[in-house]
Symmetry: C2
Subunit: 199 residues, 2 copies
């Protein structure tokens, strides 16, 4: 139960978990989340044991981290080693989920949750693009993460900028350049690997 | 219950929802998902009513779509209009979740689920980078989506390539170029807006 709660003793007073609000931050009252359920597919190992240790943004030449994939999903990794960069989704399980306004600098100035990449959000899903160094027996060695050690893993996809759909085009793809590698979303990205377009 | 099931009548035979497997595709047996719960934050309106209508990949100059955000989250949009491109996460609620090998071309050749950006995956979360045209009363008008009309919305973030963390650097950020705009993950992307770096 991560939503804020009103107490019977102090009606109207929000008891917002264990974390205090910073000046001018604002929370909302929520029922428990129940619209869809996630199944963790593994766990992430990083060098960062506390939030203060974590970088705010990962770098592709940062420390090596591991994505340890549950054995039931090992076959789903087939073909992934063709991609030099991949997208990783993970569940930021330490984050409160009820803030609409946040004060990143703790200075009284706030900004909307959706205008930040803060882990504090209604559905605390982190997304990163990381460099895939190698895959060994269901463990992916990657660089570019910025999350805590032990973070649950929820998805792995090819980076949209180096991926071309394998299936035939559909009606909505009817355009001169067809469906390919993210199109203009990714032009001129410097880290595109040499095999780009060959898959 | 999206996982495959064995029937009492035909033990060992998988009844895998309403969708048939293509040649050589492979499913796994799963318990119902229960590791974490999502709260939908709104709904997505697109021109595409059937899967065959949808493009395989959205384009930043594609048709205008709407992200209709639930009123409880409207304040969380403050400041988002400063970003020309944003990242959108949504729940592909029509997708089965139990395939490890898929055959995108239906030709008997298979590839692992994590080596595809198919909607069929253990946690069917779509991620897109879209162009934000404008925000009107909690509705975002965007271009670049490729999902069905009515798809549940789960998160909105600034595009990592045009976002600079607002909070002070932390230990893990101690490097010459500091934390900024996705660093080398995004260099030279052609659609970076003119205000880049000014936020």
């Amino acid at each position: 139960m991560l939503a804020s709660q009103k107490t019977a003793k102090f009606p109207g007073v929000h008891v917002t978990n264990t974390l205090e609000l910073r000046a001018n931050e604002q929370s909302v009252d929520l029922q428990p989340a129940s619209d869809a359920a996630l199944r963790f597919i593994g766990v992430i190992r990083t060098p960062w044991k506390t939030r203060d240790d974590c970088p705010r943004q990962g770098h592709l030449d940062g420390p090596s981290c591991e994505l340890i994939v549950d054995p039931v999903w090992h076959e789903a990794l087939q073909g992934l080693d063709a991609f030099e960069t991949i997208e990783v989704l993970y569940w930021l399980d330490k984050s409160r989920r009820d803030l609409v306004l946040q004060s990143p600098k703790s200075d009284g100035h706030t900004i909307g949750t959706f205008a930040l990449r803060s882990p504090v959000r209604p559905n605390p899903i982190g997304t990163s693009v990381v460099r895939l160094d190698r895959i060994d027996a269901g463990t992916l060695h990657v660089r570019g993460l910025d999350c805590l050690d032990g973070t649950p893993l929820i998805d792995i996809k090819p980076d949209r900028c180096v991926f071309t759909p394998k299936a035939p085009p559909k009606a909505g793809d009817a355009r001169p350049d067809g469906p390919k590698m993210g199109g203009e979303k990714c032009k001129n990205r410097s880290y595109l690997p040499p095999y780009l377009g060959s898959l």
